[in-house]
Amino acid sequence: MPAYILRRFAALIPVLLTVFTAVFLVVHLAPGSPASVILGQEATPQQITQLNSDLGLDQPLWQQYATWIGHAVTGDLGQSYFLDAPVLSTIVDHVPPTLSLALIAEIIGIGVAIPLGIIAATRRGSLLDRVILNGSLVGISVPSFLLALFLLLVFGVWLRVLPVGGYEPLSSGFFTWLSYLILPGIALGGMQAALITRMARSSVLEVLGQEYIKVAKAKGLRTRVVVLKHALRNAFLPVLTILGQGLGSLITGAVVTETIFTIPGIGTLVVNSVLHRDFPVVQGTVLFTTVIFVLVNLIVDLLYGVFDPRVKLPSKR
């Protein structure tokens, strides 16, 4: 396993290089420059040209690329044009809110969706099964921004039981931290939870039809033991895949939810830096999110072996 992990990390380098090169070209070739955004609509062409030059943006593209790569390998991701801070520390500052949000959304996904999927599978054809299935269909169909606005209105404005937006770190107190994340967590995790519910249901249904489950029942084991101990573990692999992919998407795709709930996370950072043409921040966050995706996929691959011992990691050639 250590060799496998090392090989996966080594494979990260060409992935990072490819992704970074593509993003570098796209953002630099797109129209617009940070100078025009900093100076405002009524800046003169001369001012914009001068500031772009001061920012080093008049250098040839290959030179800018080489310079950035050269610094990045030493851990220096550059300085944000707008935020007056190193890119690395900017990313680090924006990670906790997004990570917190993604965690809450995943907990909702695991804590709510999997039990619902199991219940639906074990009560297949019943009214409860139909309610859960239709509910999950609604969950998949409703866009996250609409759900976010609805939750904001009902729980934030009408009922006044939860804050309408913002973020407080964990250091402000666990319940304070949690109170700011419940609504956006539901909004963000709702669609994924719906997907996991359906996946868990179909996966458990498939496993419940296996011969060994019949043997377990015939042995007189209680239904709960049959489902949780024997069926769930085997049904969990497809769900694990979705959870892993979903976590990566949650981290990088939370921008709409972060905007509505004014959470200063990675999603907000990425969108603002793209709109502002803050090239170092765009490049740095792309690197960061690529590493996250690869790491999450690696963890999911390793967990396959944990849940199903029949799954073997590729052996050394």
Binding site: D54, R160, V161, T259
Partner: protein, 519 residues
């Protein structure tokens, strides 16, 4: 009833009861009355006010920095950090005696060295300053408490441009101004009633009361007079979504919306828990690419102007008549020194049939026309969509091109990037600063008539003479040259909860002299 059904019914009843009790409750502030939360719709791109014309920067930093002169409620220029202003006989220089005992946030006393360094930097960075004062203007110290502005020629708009609130001449310590990087200052030390504590990116900007502030003694009037930091801490919270802004105002999370969305104006003004104030914020104009575009002759531009229905455009862009004015003049209706409606018979005609005929007679034969706008600015985008329709009715083969701010900026600087562009032009202190009439506008071919008129305006003996020249110039611009089409003047809207007192607006929210709580 089955047990789980009973459970569901009971839960639903509880939720409904709580919901009904919660509905209609007044906003209860979620923080103390020594903390003011202002929702800002966009994050500032920089806090260096001397570098940018962006509004979020202005709204925040005018609480931190002050200027030598400013404007009162009647838009008259009055001293702020200056104690007295003396104009030379030939009007080529102004002496500013400085107030003594004014301290920066770092405790140092403001002297002429600081003012000279700040004004010199501002002169280098501001196109408006260079245009009005002249590229050779200088600020020099005359002792520790006096500064002299020296110009090569008289400029009737000199004090006006120094009192501007767009890219204003913030006074800062000399060491900061002189050592500023090309990308801007990184230390924000001013003389204002508030000082900067922290800028939490993408979250909020925190200001706190400056206990060493030296206030003027006159009664507050516009930006002039006494400024008191009556609330200890001010947070400008970055809230980009209009629904979230509104929800925050309703629930007391935010006390003030600096710039409310026009879509929410109707709801806000009819709400009994809020006060809504508006302020003249600028003009919607459509500017022609005279140098390289299809509308390269005055006749074609006159034809398009004839066909434009400004009422429809402004109505769609802003929805409520309270927040815009239909006007023909290029200056603000709030500027009686400059505003004139001369040439109004060319405004808001909406005669697309005649316009189409005129266009064909002027030599337009269906060439493709690009109408450029920015989709980050809803009113610009909406006005462009309506204009596009009107142009089509005139027989123009028009395509709408949009992008975010950065894309729009790049395309608007491209000599062949557009034939007509939308623009939101903020109020200026005199017509020679109108950016779309200046040589800094890359595709504008300045008319020799206008260039000559602007020179005469600045050299005028007094404001009355200058205005007379402007009236004739505007008539020429509207009836003959037509470099832009005026759609109308729009207002910015701020909203505050009922427990906010003393809050006023002028070119945006004014935070000093504001208090919170039951009175």
């Amino acid at each position: 009833m089955i047990r789980w059904q009973r459970w569901v019914a009971t839960s639903a009843a509880i939720v409904l009861a709580v919901a009904l009790s919660g509905c209609g409750a007044l906003a209860a502030r979620t923080h103390s009355d020594q903390e003011l939360h202002v929702a800002l719709g966009a994050q500032p791109t920089t806090l260096d006010e001397q570098m940018t014309t962006a509004e979020p920067t202005k709204y925040v930093m005018r609480n931190v920095f002050e200027t030598l002169v400013t404007t009162d409620a009647d838009n008259k220029v009055v001293p702020m950090l200056a104690s007295a202003i003396t104009e030379s006989a030939d009007r080529t220089s102004y002496r500013f005696d400085l107030r003594r005992g004014v301290h920066f946030h770092n405790g140092a006393e403001m002297t002429s060295a600081d003012v000279v360094a700040s004004m010199t930097r501002w002169l280098k960075l501001s196109p408006a300053a260079k245009s009005v004062l002249g590229k050779d203007a200088t600020f020099v110290a005359d002792g520790p408490y006096a500064v002299v502005l020296k110009m090569k020629a008289p400029a009737v708009g000199a004090l006006g441009v120094m009192a501007t609130h767009k890219q204003f001449p913030a006074i800062m310590p000399a060491a900061i101004a002189q050592n500023a990087a090309p990308t801007g200052v990184t230390s924000f030390i001013g003389t204002g009633p508030y000082k900067l504590v922290e800028w939490k990116k993408d979250a909020s900007i925190h200001l706190t009361k400056f206990d060493g502030y030296s206030a003027r003694s006159e009664a507050p009037s516009g930006f002039a007079g006494r400024r008191d930091a009556l609330i200890r801490d001010v947070y400008f919270d970055i809230v980009t979504d209009p629904s979230t802004q509104l929800a925050g105002l309703q629930t007391g999370k935010y006390d003030i919306l600096a710039s409310a969305s026009y879509d929410t104006y109707d709801w806000l003004k009819n709400g009994k828990d809020f006060t809504v104030t508006s302020y003249n914020d600028g003009d919607v104009v459509f500017a022609f690419n005279i140098k390289n575009g299809v509308f390269d002759t005055p006749q074609k531009r006159q034809a398009v102007q004839l066909g434009v229905n400004s009422s429809d455009i402004m109505n769609v862009a802003f929805a409520d008549k309270d927040v815009y004015d239909l006007k023909a003049g290029y200056m603000s209706v709030d500027q009686p020194d400059w505003y004139t409606n001369d040439g109004a018979d060319t405004y808001n005609q909406g005669d697309t049939a005649r316009a189409g005929k005129m266009l064909r007679e002027a030599g337009y034969h269906g060439e493709p026309v690009t109408l450029l706008t920015v989709n980050d600015d809803p009113f610009q985008y909406k006005s462009a969509v309506v204009l596009q329709q009107q142009l089509k009715e005139m027989g123009v083969n028009v395509t709408l091109r949009t992008g975010d701010w950065a894309t729009y900026s790049a395309l608007s600087l491209d000599p062949k990037g557009y034939d007509i562009t939308t623009a939101g032009i903020t109020t200026v202190s005199d017509p020679t600063q109108l950016s779309y009439l200046g040589d800094s506008w890359p595709v504008y071919a300045q008319s020799p008539v206008v260039a000559d008129a602007f020179t005469k305006i600045q050299r005028s003996a007094d404001l009355k003479d200058a205005r007379d020249i402007w009236v004739n110039t505007q008539k020429y611009l509207r009836e003959d040259y037509v470099p832009v089409i005026m759609a109308g003047e729009f207002k910015g809207v701020s909203a505050a909860n009922k427990d906010v007192h003393g809050f006023t607006t002028k070119d945006g929210p004014i935070i000093w002299n504001t208090t919170l709580g039951d009175h």
